[in-house]
Amino acid sequence: MLKLVNVKTSYGNIEALKGISMEVHEGEIITLIGSNGAGKTTTLMSISGITPPRAGEILFMGRPIHNMSPDMIVSHGISQVPEGRHIFPELSVMENLHMGAFLRTDREGIAKDIDYVFGLFPILTDRRHQAGGTLSGGEQQMLAISRALMARPRLLLLDEPSLGLAPKVVKQIFDIIRRINTEQKTTVFLVEQNANLALQAAHRGYVMENGRIVLEDHADRLLSNEEVKKAYLGM
């Protein structure tokens, strides 16, 4: 479904991605783990067209998307929940959701999907008219995921959804991620610092170090891989 071929992305003359290749199959949850500064966020931003690659190819459903503008990429079915959530602080919860559906014109479908995300995260229902910036961290993460779902993506990119959240909220959010994957058949590309959690939720995983992919395997095999255990699982 999504294919990265030798992708290189730079900030000025700092090369953050030094030629990475990855593949995401339809219907799976894949995770990309790695330590701080490895290039995980840059990978997602390159896919979304915010920091377009300097070299290499990104193909989505067989079509090259690495030269497309971010809005074109969204319209092809890729949505991102960025690191740090980025809720529009002065827009209400409802407006944030409508922004998620910005490129859609089917009013009824949008209304239905708002009901759907309120079903996933009932707490947002009570907050619907509240400004996004006044929500708690957990609620903001729920809203950020809901907003991304409002675009009805085929591929959902999630950047560190567990960051700074209480274990109970993290569990709730990961349950929902699995549910979206099975119920909506949405393919999920999950970036996480919390490797243990991510590998338990995912089917396959990639490990990134210094802008390179150094390992790729089934999630359960990565969980029992000695090097991964030492470096990322704190065992």
């Binding site: 809005d71 980025h86 409508h98 922004m99």
Partner: protein, 300 residues
């Protein structure tokens, strides 16, 4: 009391024009954090366009009010086209350049436009026809509030109400707010940010053109330099209210209008600008972000 009322209404009228122009500064700043120095020139070009249109229409014998409406329309279209084009050629190529570059480009563009009009027209003031008729029902109040002032106040109010509805209730308006709050995130949900920036310039320019026509018709003369003066005043209003804040621009406009009006009326007309800028300095000392502006730390 009557004198006070007169000054109050005069300040209100003047302030509403400042507010109208200040909106353009503040909206552009809100989206791309640039002080658009050409904004005053857009206003001036609006006034000249209206003058030319009005002159032509007068030859065909239209009445004042229909000339006002048509001249305003042509001015709005023409100024918007200018605003749109200026953004595309002077700012867009510098979107990722250091912050000072677009600012310098803006100042250069402003000087260019002034000189262009100076050469195309003359450096002298040219008379502008009074396009607002004397309304019969205003006869009794003529000495404190003229028909032209009433027209200014009504028009600016209607325009500002329309603007707030557009920003609050339309999809494009919501995208404008979202882009101002978090540009990268707006791109991630599929907003074509370049389009939003263009729309912002077009709306701001249209407001400036309306302001230009109203003032020109009220004052009765224009030249190439009026945009500079009005621009500085409106920019002051925007900063007073809190640059980037839309209600702030409106409030700043009124505060500035009243300050000038009362200072002129009770102290001396020589000190009009002194009071205006003294007020600006005071506000910036005690509320650096402006009356309704948010301090940087709040805006994350």
């Amino acid at each position: 009391m009557e004198y006070f009322t007169q000054l109050f209404l005069g300040g209100l009228t003047r302030g509403s024009i400042y507010a109208l122009i200040a909106l353009g500064y503040t909206m552009v700043y809100g989206i791309i954090e640039l002080i658009n120095f050409t904004h005053g020139e857009i206003y001036m070009i609006g006034a000249f366009t209206a003058l030319i249109t009005a002159s032509v229409l007068t030859l065909y014998g239209f009445n004042e009010l229909s000339i006002l409406v048509m001249a305003s329309l042509v001015a709005v279209i023409y100024s918007s086209a200018y605003g749109y084009t200026i953004e595309k050629i002077a700012y867009k190529p510098l979107r990722h350049a250091p912050r000072l570059s677009p600012l310098i480009s803006a100042i250069g563009m402003s000087i260019f436009l002034q000189n262009y009009v100076l050469l195309a027209q003359t450096s002298d003031f040219v008379p502008f026809p009074a396009l607002v008729p004397e309304f019969a029902f205003m006869k009794a109040y003529e000495h404190i509030f003229s028909s032209a002032e009433l027209m200014i106040l009504l028009t600016t109010t209607v325009v500002m109400i329309i603007l707030s509805c557009v920003i609050k209730f339309t999809k494009t308006g919501m995208a404008m707010r979202a882009t101002a709050q978090d540009r990268k995130m707006a791109m991630l949900v599929g907003v074509d940010v370049n389009r939003i920036i263009s729309v912002t310039f077009i709306i701001g320019s249209a407001l400036a053109a309306v302001g230009g026509v109203l003032i020109a018709s009220h004052i009765g003369q224009i030249n190439f330099y009026i945009g500079f003066i009005a621009g500085i005043k409106a920019f002051t209003a925007a900063v007073l209210g809190g640059i980037g804040s839309i209600p702030g621009a409106v409030l700043g406009g009124f505060v500035l209008g009243w300050t000038e009006s009362f200072a002129t009326g009770y102290v001396s007309s020589d000190y009009e600008d002194v009071f205006a800028f003294a007020l600006l300095v005071l506000i910036l000392i005690f509320r650096p972000a402006g009356i309704l502006g948010k301090s940087k730390s709040e805006k994350v």
